[in-house]
C-alpha cells in the first residue's frame, strides 16, 4: 500500500503541466521525497471568482491507512476566506474529505480538484465561516465577493469577532 503514494507521485509528474484541465495546479508534490506522506500543493483561484489571480497553499497529509482513509487537507491558516473553510485554521469542510464519503478510488489529484471546485461554489449549508455563509444565503453575491477580495488583498480580520461553527 505504501507504493500507492509513490505511484501517484509518478503519475502526477506526468500529468501536471500537460493536462489543461489541471492547469490551475502550480505544484502538487511531496514536501520532501523522504516522506511521501506529507504533500503540499499550490493552486491558483478559479476564474470568475474573487479568488482568481491569487495563489493558495494546500497542506496534505496522508495517514498510514491511505487510501482507505481520506488524506487530511487544509489551507494554510488565515489565508482562505471561504464559507466552507475555517479561516483561522484553514480546515476545509468538504464531503469527499470525510471518511464516510471518501473512496479509495480517489487520489490526491481528485482531492485538489474537488477543493478547487469548492472555491467556485460555496456551500452555505455546512459553513465554517458564518459571516460569508450568511452573505451567500442572503443571495448577496457582490457583498460576498467583495468581502473575500477585501480579505485577500490584505484586509485585516480579527480573531475575536469571528464566529465559526466547529
Amino acid at each position: 500500500m505504501s507504493q500507492r503514494l509513490a505511484k501517484e507521485y509518478r503519475a502526477l509528474s506526468k500529468t501536471l503541466g500537460r493536462d489543461p484541465e489541471y492547469a490551475y495546479i502550480i505544484s502538487l508534490a511531496p514536501v520532501s521525497e523522504e516522506n511521501l506522506r506529507k504533500w503540499e500543493s499550490l493552486i491558483t483561484g478559479p476564474p470568475d471568482t474573487p479568488y482568481f489571480g491569487h495563489e493558495f497553499t494546500l497542506q496534505i497529509e496522508a495517514s498510514e491507512a491511505y487510501p482507505l482513509e481520506p488524506p487530511k487537507v487544509q489551507f494554510q491558516a488565515r489565508c482562505m476566506p471561504h464559507c466552507n473553510v475555517d479561516f483561522d485554521s484553514g480546515r476545509i469542510c468538504l464531503s469527499v474529505l470525510d471518511a464516510a464519503h471518501w473512496t479509495p478510488a480517489w487520489d490526491l489529484l481528485h482531492v485538489v480538484h474537488a477543493i478547487w471546485l469548492l472555491l467556485a461554489s460555496p456551500e452555505p449549508d455546512s459553513p465554517l465561516d458564518v459571516d460569508l455563509a450568511c452573505l451567500v444565503r442572503a443571495g448577496d453575491r457582490s457583498a460576498h465577493n467583495s468581502l473575500i477580495a477585501y480579505y485577500l488583498n490584505g484586509g485585516s480580520r480579527g480573531h475575536c469577532g469571528h464566529v465559526s461553527e466547529r
Binding site: 507504493q3 500507492r4 505511484k7 503519475a11 487510501p67 482507505l68 473512496t103 478510488a105
Partner: protein, 479 residues
C-alpha cells in the same frame, strides 16, 4: 567479502564506534585473523580511555570460544582475497587509532543516539550496522548478498563476564549450552568446512536425504543462490484450544550450510538485528513460551532443511511429535514442505497473547511461489471479460493500490463487477459487511444477498447478458 563478527569483535567495534575504519576492520575480522593478540581492542564501556585491555585481544585469538569457529575458519579459508586489503587497512588503522582519545566523547554520544548498550553482553552486530552508520565507509550495502555471511550470537550472555565465560568452554560444551547457539547465514559460496561446522546430526531413525542432482539444487535456490524458508501461522480455529500466536508470515533466505536461530523477540535481539535485512534475521517470536534461544533451522548444501531443539524449556513439536524431552538437545530432524511446527505450549491457557505457543506451517525453497500457468492466466482473462460484459470497461488496475491485477492474486469482485485485490479491499469489505459500497461506482451491494434468485430475474439477467456477450465477442474479433 567475508565479514566476520564474533562476540569479541563486536565488543571491540562497539567501543570505537566513532572510528569508522576501525569499525570496518573489526567487522571484517581482520584484526582477529591477521594480527592476533598483539592488537588489543579497547573494551566496551571504556570508550573515554585509550588504555588497552589485553584480555580482550587475547580472547579474540586464543579463547576462540569455538562457537566462533565457523566464521574464523571462513576468514582463513578466504583470506587470500582480502590480503591486499588487509595490508592497506592495517596502515589506515594505525593512523586512525590515534583518534580514539579524541573521539572518546563522540563515541559515547553516538552510542547513546543508537541506544545500543555499552555492556559486553550486547554482542550482536553486523556489517550493516556499521556500514550504514558510517556512510563514509565504502561498504556496498546495496549488494546485500555479497555482505554475507552474517553471524550473530543471541540469547543470554548476561553479566559483564559473559564473553569471558564463553572462552572457557570446550567446543563441545559451548555447543551444548543453548545460550550460545549462533545465527549464521552464509552466501551462495560458503567456505570449505562449512558443512562440518554446521554439525548436522540426524536422528537415528531418520532417512538420510537422498542426494539430488545439481539441477534440482539449482531449482531450490533463488536468484541469489540462496535457499529459502517461509513460516506462516497455523491457526486452527476449529480446535477447542487457543489458535496460537498470530504473526506476519516470516520469510528467510540463507545460503548452503547456514543456521538460523529460533528464539524469543527481545529488546536485545531487536537492537542487534535492526540493521540486517529482514530476510536474514533470526526467527524470533513475541511469545514467552518460546525460549530466548529455542532451537535452530539448518540448511545443508542440497537445500534440505532441518530443525533442532536446543534445550528449550517448553519444547519443539514437529507434526505434534516433540523433538526432545525437556531441556535436552534434539537431533537435526529433517523437515518437509507443509510440516507443522509448534514452539512451546500454551501457558496459563494461552489467554494472553504473549503466553501462546507458536504454531506454524513450513514451506521450503520458494515452494510457495506460484507460477502463473496457462490456466491461471486464462482464468483471469475470463474474469476480465466478465467485467467487460457487465460494466463495459476493462479495468486493468486495482483502483486502491493502483497496481495491475495479475494472475495468481486474490481478487474480490463486487456485485457491480468492479474488482480489486482482495488484500486491498479487505478492510472495506470487513468494516461494513454485509453492506458494501463500491469505491469505484458507489453502488451499494448486499454481500449476503440470496444466491438462489428466482427464475424470472434469472432469465432477464441472462437476456441482457446474451446481448452484451455478442458485442464483446465482436469487439474481441475486431481487435
Amino acid at each position: 567479502m567475508v565479514v566476520n563478527i564474533s562476540p569479541r569483535n563486536s565488543l571491540s567495534s562497539r567501543s570505537r564506534r566513532g572510528s569508522t575504519i576501525n569499525n570496518l576492520l573489526n567487522s571484517m575480522g581482520i584484526r582477529q585473523g591477521s594480527n592476533g593478540p598483539g592488537m588489543a581492542p579497547i573494551p566496551a564501556g571504556s570508550s573515554g580511555t585509550t588504555e588497552p585491555l589485553n584480555n580482550n585481544g587475547d580472547m579474540a585469538a586464543t579463547g576462540p570460544s569455538r562457537a566462533t569457529e565457523p566464521f574464523n575458519s571462513a576468514t582463513f579459508a578466504r583470506s587470500n582475497e582480502g590480503r591486499e586489503d588487509m595490508a592497506e587497512s592495517n596502515a589506515i588503522e594505525e593512523l586512525s587509532s590515534d583518534d580514539d582519545e579524541v573521539n572518546g566523547d563522540r563515541d559515547r554520544v553516538l552510542r547513546d543516539e543508537n541506544g545500543a548498550p555499552t555492556a559486553a553482553n550486547m554482542l550482536g552486530t553486523t556489517p550493516f550496522d556499521q556500514g550504514i552508520q558510517n556512510s563514509s565507509v565504502p561498504l556496498s550495502v546495496n549488494n546485500l548478498v555479497s555482505e554475507l555471511p552474517i553471524t550473530l550470537t543471541l540469547g543470554q550472555n548476561d553479566g559483564p563476564g559473559g564473553a569471558g565465560q564463553v572462552s572457557t568452554l570446550t567446543p563441545n560444551e559451548s555447543q551444548m549450552v543453548p545460550k550460545h547457539v549462533r545465527h549464521f547465514v552464509y552466501g551462495n559460496n560458503q567456505p570449505e568446512p562449512a558443512l562440518d561446522l554446521l554439525g548436522l546430526e540426524l536422528p537415528r531413525n531418520a532417512a538420510i536425504p537422498e542426494p539430488v542432482s545439481e539441477e534440482v539444487i539449482q531449482s531450490r535456490k533463488d536468484k541469489s543462490g540462496l535457499f529459502s524458508l517461509r513460516l506462516t501461522p497455523f491457526l486452527d480455529q476449529s480446535a477447542s484450544t487457543n489458535p496460537g500466536l498470530y504473526f506476519e508470515p516470516i520469510v528467510r533466505t540463507a545460503g548452503p550450510c547456514s543456521q538460523l536461530v529460533i528464539g524469543r523477540y527481545t529488546e536485545r535481539v531487536r537492537e542487534s538485528i535492526n540493521r540486517i535485512p529482514e530476510h536474514f534475521h533470526p526467527v524470533v517470536f513475541k511469545s514467552k513460551v518460546v525460549s530466548r534461544t529455542h532451537g535452530c533451522f539448518k540448511v545443508d548444501q542440497q537445500g534440505n532443511w532441518y530443525i533442532r531443539d536446543v534445550r528449550s524449556s517448553s519444547g519443539t513439536f514437529l507434526n505434534h511429535h516433540r523433538l526432545a524431552p525437556a531441556s535436552t538437545m534434539s537431533k537435526d530432524t529433517p523437515i518437509q514442505d507443509g510440516d507443522v511446527i509448534q514452539l512451546g505450549l500454551d501457558f496459563r491457557g494461552g489467554t494472553e497473547e504473549i503466553y501462546r505457543s507458536v504454531k506454524m506451517r513450513v514451506e521450503l525453497n520458494r515452494s510457495w511461489k506460484r507460477r502463473a500457468m496457462r490456466f491461471n492466466r486464462e482464468a483471469l482473462q475470463r474474469l476480465k471479460n466478465l467485467q467487460k460484459m457487465t460494466s463495459g470497461l476493462e479495468e486493468e488496475d486495482c483502483s486502491i493500490c493502483l497496481s495491475k491485477i495479475k494472475p495468481c492474486q486474490a481478487i474480490f469482485i463486487s456485485p457491480c463487477s468492479h474488482s480489486w485485490h482482495y488484500q486491498c479491499v479487505r478492510r472495506l469489505v470487513m468494516t461494513t459487511y454485509p453492506q458494501f459500497v463500491c469505491p469505484n461506482c458507489r453502488s451499494s451491494c448486499d454481500l449476503e444477498a440470496s444466491l438462489d434468485s428466482d427464475m424470472d430475474s434469472d432469465e432477464n439477467d441472462f437476456e441482457v447478458l446474451a446481448d452484451d456477450v455478442k458485442d464483446i465477442d465482436m469487439a474481441q474479433e475486431s481487435e
